[in-house]
C-alpha cells in the first residue's frame, strides 16, 4: 500500500470510528482488508482505496468494520466481573429497591460475550421473578458482531474461555460442536448497532456501563469525549467498568476509581467509597 493510500485509510477510519491505525500494524491491516477485497471483488488495495476515495458508503463501512478487533471472551478479566457481582451489583440493587429498575449498557459488545456474562450474573439473582425490570442494552459498531450476538452461538473454544462448566450447562444448549445461549438470557439483552462517536441521547439513566477494550483503539480526544458522554448518561450513583489496560487518568475528571473493584469507576468519591465497602 502506498503511504498516500495508508494515510487516506487511516483518516477515514479515524473519522468514522475513532480508530487509530499505525503503520506498524500494516501487515495485519492488509490481511484484514483482503477479506473485504475478496467480498467486493477487488484485486488490489490500490483499487480498493481508489473506490473508497469516491465515497462508497457500503464499502467504507465494511472496511471500517473489518479493521476493528472483535476479540472477547465470557467474564473477560474475571476480577472486574467478580467485583461487579460482589460489590457494585448489591449496592445498585439496594439503591433501586423502590423503583426496581436497572439499566446496564455493554458499549462495545463484540460477539455478545460481555452482555451475556452480565445477563448470567443478573439471572443468578432472579430479579425479574421479584418484579424487577431489567434493561440490558448491548451495542457495537459492527453489524456482523451484532448479528453474531443475536445469534448467540459460540464455538467449542469460545465457551471454554472464561465460562465455568456449570454456567455452560446451565445457560447453553449444544448444537453440533457449538453452544447456543438459552432463550431466557437471549431475551434479557437488546442488541443494537451503534457507533460510540454518535450521540448518546437514547442511552439515558444508565446504572452501569461496561466500556471495555475499545477505548484502547481510540485517539486521546475520542477517548476523552466517549468518557464524558458516558458520564452524562450514568446515574449519579452508577458505575463504569473499563478494560484491564484502560484508565481515566488524564482523560476525564468525571470519574473516581473504586477501591477493591478493579477497572471500576464511580462519579463521586462518596459513591466510590460506598461501592468499595
Amino acid at each position: 500500500m502506498t503511504p498516500d493510500d495508508f494515510s487516506f485509510l487511516a483518516q477515514m477510519v479515524r473519522r468514522r470510528a475513532g480508530l487509530v491505525l499505525t503503520e506498524k500494524k500494516l501487515h495485519l491491516i492488509e490481511s484484514r482488508l483482503s477479506t473485504v477485497m475478496r467480498r467486493f471483488g477487488f484485486r488490489s488495495t490500490d483499487a480498493l482505496v481508489k473506490e473508497l476515495r469516491h465515497g462508497r458508503e457500503t464499502l467504507a463501512r465494511a472496511v471500517t468494520e473489518v479493521l476493528t478487533t472483535n476479540e472477547s471472551s465470557f467474564f473477560r478479566d474475571r476480577a472486574a466481573f467478580e467485583a461487579f457481582r460482589e460489590r457494585v451489583l448489591p449496592r445498585l440493587i439496594e439503591a433501586r429497591a423502590e423503583t426496581k429498575r436497572l439499566r446496564i449498557w455493554s458499549a462495545a459488545c463484540a460477539a455478545g460475550q460481555e452482555a451475556y456474562s452480565i445477563a448470567m450474573l443478573l439471572d443468578d439473582l432472579k430479579l425479574q421473578a421479584q418484579g424487577w425490570s431489567i434493561d440490558l442494552i448491548a451495542t457495537d459498531l459492527s453489524a456482523e458482531m451484532i448479528a453474531r450476538s443475536e445469534e448467540g452461538l459460540y464455538s467449542h473454544f469460545e465457551v471454554q474461555r472464561g465460562l465455568a462448566i456449570r454456567r455452560l450447562v446451565a445457560h447453553f444448549s449444544q448444537e453440533g460442536g457449538s453452544w447456543r445461549i438459552h432463550e431466557n438470557l437471549r431475551r434479557m439483552v437488546s442488541f443494537h448497532q451503534f457507533n460510540l462517536l454518535d450521540s448518546y441521547g437514547w442511552l439515558d439513566d444508565l446504572d452501569a456501563v461496561f466500556c471495555r477494550n475499545v477505548l484502547i483503539y481510540f485517539d486521546q480526544k475520542t477517548k476523552a469525549s466517549v468518557l464524558d458522554k458516558i458520564a452524562e448518561m450514568l446515574t449519579p450513583d452508577g458505575a463504569l467498568v473499563l478494560g484491564n489496560s484502560e484508565a481515566v487518568t488524564g482523560l476525564s475528571t468525571a470519574f473516581v476509581p473504586v477501591d477493591r473493584a478493579p477497572n471500576t469507576y464511580a462519579k463521586t468519591k462518596t459513591i466510590a467509597q460506598r461501592l468499595a465497602s
Binding site: H156, Q160, R161, A164, I165, L168, V169, Q174
Partner: protein, 121 residues
C-alpha cells in the same frame, strides 16, 4: 510448586498436557489409566488431576468415584479432559465430584482459563 497428575491413555496427550502445565509452573506426573492413577494418588496426592474419560482397566469416572471415597488426606481438584463433549457426560462428571471439565480438543488458553475457574492460576 503446585503439582498435577495427568491421567490419559494417550502418550501424546499426556505429553502435550504436561508441557502446558509445566509452562504454567506445575510439577507433573503421569498415569495411563485409573488404576495407575489411584496408585499414584495413594503414594502422593496431587493438588490437581487432569482426567481423561475413556481408558482401559479403569476409566475416568470410575476412578473419580473411587477417589472421592478415599478418606485419608486432602481431596485434589479434578478437571476432566475428554472427547465426551455432551451434556449428559458433563453432568455425570459434575455429580461424581469433578470440579471442572475440558472438552477436547484443548489448547493452552483453555487449560489456563479452566485453572483460573478452579482457583489454581
Amino acid at each position: 510448586m503446585k503439582n498435577c497428575l495427568v491421567v490419559d491413555d494417550s502418550r501424546v496427550i499426556r505429553k502435550v498436557a504436561c508441557r502446558i502445565l509445566q509452562d504454567l509452573k506445575f510439577d507433573t506426573a503421569e498415569a495411563e489409566d485409573g488404576i495407575a492413577a489411584l496408585q499414584s494418588c495413594r503414594q502422593r496426592m496431587p493438588q490437581l488431576i487432569l482426567l481423561d474419560w475413556n481408558m482401559p482397566n479403569m476409566n475416568g469416572i470410575e476412578f473419580l468415584k473411587t477417589l472421592r471415597k478415599e478418606r485419608n488426606g486432602q481431596q485434589p481438584v479434578v478437571v476432566f479432559c475428554t472427547t465426551e463433549n455432551d451434556v449428559s457426560h458433563i453432568t455425570e462428571a459434575l455429580s461424581a465430584g469433578a470440579n471442572e471439565y475440558i472438552m477436547k480438543p484443548f489448547d493452552r488458553e483453555i487449560i489456563e482459563a479452566k485453572l483460573a475457574e478452579v482457583g489454581l492460576m
